[in-house]
């Protein structure tokens, strides 16, 4: 089975508004992704879409707990963090279109955007390149005596990089406030994770660096929430870093251009059974936290938000060539 479902009794007590927020971000991430994939296939986007369908709960469950003074370094497949940090659907969508109203006036893609004031650090097209950077950000946080947390996310493939190991090691030695979130979606581009890793759980690597590691069901947003809460608490309390592995399954290809010659459509379909949205909907209904009508209302608002973002992006201008050489140096 591509994803092992880890049974977990969630003893979490969240307020109704928290559940509404979580549901909204899950749905917003899913819908935006579907729209982006469609628009990309129609040739309307400049940005190559890296779908995060199947993994939404990893970002939502962990990111929803970040404070404004916390930092996040999202991977290429972790769109939800941007929304949770206060970046608008409009700016994200305009970025995918390459418009001047997108991040950095079009100098950067939406999935790598940075916004220092909101605590979002630009991603890098070098997979895993944010991991050593996150350690530096955490060093700055610790040196300043703040209790902010630095959350860096990456896929299972990135954990094969040498400096992933350097980063865990140094973060543990210096007890830096980093939460390393690994979305293990079973695939490193076109290669199965099992062909790239001799260890059955990436979280085991944490023990090699003297830091806690945990694996949870990455399609269960509350499981991710609970494990993240502990990791964030540890970091804030000065107890050092954690490696949190969230098991999921990558629904789409590596990117929207990926012909997916490496897996059968049956297997891809199997993977779609692990749906964080469906799982959470079931939970909310069974626990009578939200009704079907409540969820429909949230979904309608999100649909309008995404439609507005599309219209905004289509109407926005492309950047002018005059800005191409600005802000290279201070």
């Amino acid at each position: 089975m591509p994803v092992e479902v880890l049974a977990k009794e969630n003893g979490l007590i969240l307020a109704r508004q928290d559940h509404e927020k979580i549901y909204r971000y899950l749905y917003l991430t899913r819908l935006t992704d579907e729209v982006l994939v469609k628009k990309y296939t129609q040739g309307q986007l400049q940005e190559l879409v890296h779908s995060c369908q199947g993994e939404e709960a990893v970002a939502v469950g962990s990111g929803i707990q970040l404070r404004p003074d916390d930092y996040v370094l999202p991977s290429l497949r972790a769109r939800a963090y941007f929304y949770m940090k206060g970046i608008s659907s409009r700016e994200m969508m305009a970025g995918a279109y390459g418009k001047v109203t997108g991040p950095a006036q079009g100098k950067n893609t939406s999935h790598h955007l940075g916004d220092m004031k909101r605590g979002v650090i630009c991603g890098t097209g070098i997979v895993g390149g944010s991991i050593p950077l996150a350690v530096g950000v955490a060093l700055g946080v610790k040196m300043s005596g703040r209790d902010s947390v630095v959350l860096v996310t990456f896929g299972d493939g990135a954990t094969s990089r040498g400096d992933f190991h350097e980063s865990l090691n140094l973060a543990a030695v210096w007890k830096l406030p980093v939460v390393f979130v690994c979305a293990n979606n079973g695939w490193a581009m076109g290669n199965r994770t099992s062909k790239e890793t001799a260890v059955d759980r990436i979280s085991r690597r944490a023990a090699g660096y003297g830091m806690p590691g945990e694996t949870v069901d990455g399609t269960d947003v509350l499981a991710v929430y609970e494990a993240s809460a502990q990791a964030i608490r540890r970091a804030r309390a000065g107890e050092g870093p954690t490696l949190l592995e969230c098991m999921a399954y990558r629904w789409g290809g590596h990117s929207a251009r990926d012909p997916q010659t490496y897996r059968s459509s049956e297997e891809a379909e199997e993977g779609r059974k692990y749906c964080s949205l469906a799982k959470y909907r079931t939970y909310l209904l069974n626990q009578r936290i939200l009704s079907a009508e409540d969820m429909a209302r949230i979904e309608d608002a999100v649909k309008r938000e995404v439609e507005d973002a599309v219209v905004y992006s289509e109407q926005s201008a492309y950047p002018s060539p005059e800005i191409v050489a600005t802000n290279v140096y201070a």
Binding site: A104, K107, I121, P132, L133, V137
Partner: protein
């Protein structure tokens, strides 16, 4: 004025900047307890403590990453990579993050970072502890690259680099650490982006940087005995290059030889020659010559290493060829 070695001048710069600005800190392998492989940071741990003078594991990638990340948090890290050859391990963080973060954030960040590295051969340290790496980094917009050839510039330029809001690669040379010269007392800086004429002359401009300025000056002395007056210009900052000062010299002399220790092909000399070319075309009495090391890895055994490195004789030969002598 006090006579100091380059090592002492660099140490003073670090010490004064650590005192002056609480955001400055040092990070690198063996810079704290060991005092630095070339002893530049000796004594600083005792004075400033391990929060501000930090030893790291053997991890150039995360070391440079720490520099970039902490700089984005408003700190002024001075990262030491023990030998410039090891920058290869930190290249992703340096080239893909440090050089590009400001652009990708469209200016909305701080990134005041200095990366100090000893480079160069002449100490029989072999192929992996002797390279000059400036050309590897020169083609990266977003970085600045600074060198020095004497204690005065070492201290003044390091202070400027630390205060500068941009990421700066600060290249030191192993053979210069003991080299002595006069250094003003008190605080002073030397501007980044300015070359300097270190020996006036009228027959040819020898344009060089780092340790090769020393070799160029020695060549100029020998040439003077043959009535060839060479002007020696110290480039100092490679990026941004002070084409104006270089051009002014070549327009005066009509001849130029560009000297660096790195091998010629793909070396920074090619950039200097090309940048000059348009400015001085009508003033040249001969093509501009380049002198650099041989196109080989740096050999270990002294005889081989000395054959590899540019020396006074090769510079003199190049000068003479511009004079058709």
């Amino acid at each position: 004025m006090t006579v100091l070695s380059v090592r002492e001048a660099l140490r003073q710069a670090l010490r004064e900047e650590l005192q002056r600005d609480p955001k400055v800190f040092l990070i690198g392998e063996d810079i704290a307890s060991y005092g630095g492989c070339y002893r530049v940071t000796e004594g600083l741990l005792a004075e400033f403590g391990e929060e501000r003078v930090r030893d790291t594991p053997l991890s150039e990638s995360v070391i440079v990453g720490c520099g970039v990340g902490a700089a984005m948090m408003g700190y002024k890290p001075v990262v030491e990579v023990m030998f410039a050859d090891f920058v290869t391990i930190g290249m992703d963080q340096l080239v893909n993050n440090a050089a590009k973060m400001r652009y990708m954030h469209d200016g909305d960040i701080e990134l005041s970072l200095v990366l100090r590295m000893p480079q160069g051969g002449g100490s029989t340290l072999g192929p992996h502890h002797s390279q000059c790496v400036e050309a590897w980094l020169l083609n990266v917009p977003g970085l600045q690259i600074v060198t020095h050839s004497n204690p005065h510039d070492a201290k003044g330029l390091l202070k400027s680099a630390i205060r500068d809001p941009n990421p700066i690669v600060f290249l030191e040379h192993k053979l210069l650490y003991n080299s002595k010269g006069e250094v003003p007392d008190g605080d002073y800086t030397v501007p980044i982006g300015k070359a300097q004429v270190v020996r006036p002359g009228k027959h040819v401009s020898i344009i060089s940087y780092s340790y090769m300025v020393t070799t160029s000056l020695a060549a100029a002395e020998l040439l003077a005995a043959e009535n060839v007056e060479a002007e020696v210009v110290d480039v100092r900052t490679l990026r941004p290059l002070d084409v104006g000062t270089l051009a002014e010299s070549v327009k005066k002399t009509g001849r130029a030889v560009v000297v660096h220790e790195a091998p010629v092909i793909g070396g920074a000399g090619g950039e200097i020659v090309s940048a000059l070319h348009r400015e001085v075309f009508d003033y040249l009495d001969a093509p501009i010559e380049r002198v650099g090391a041989l196109e080989t890895p740096v050999p270990f055994s002294q005889v081989l290493e000395q054959a590899y490195l540019p020396d006074k004789e090769r510079i003199i030969a190049a000068v003479k060829s511009t004079l058709n002598l």
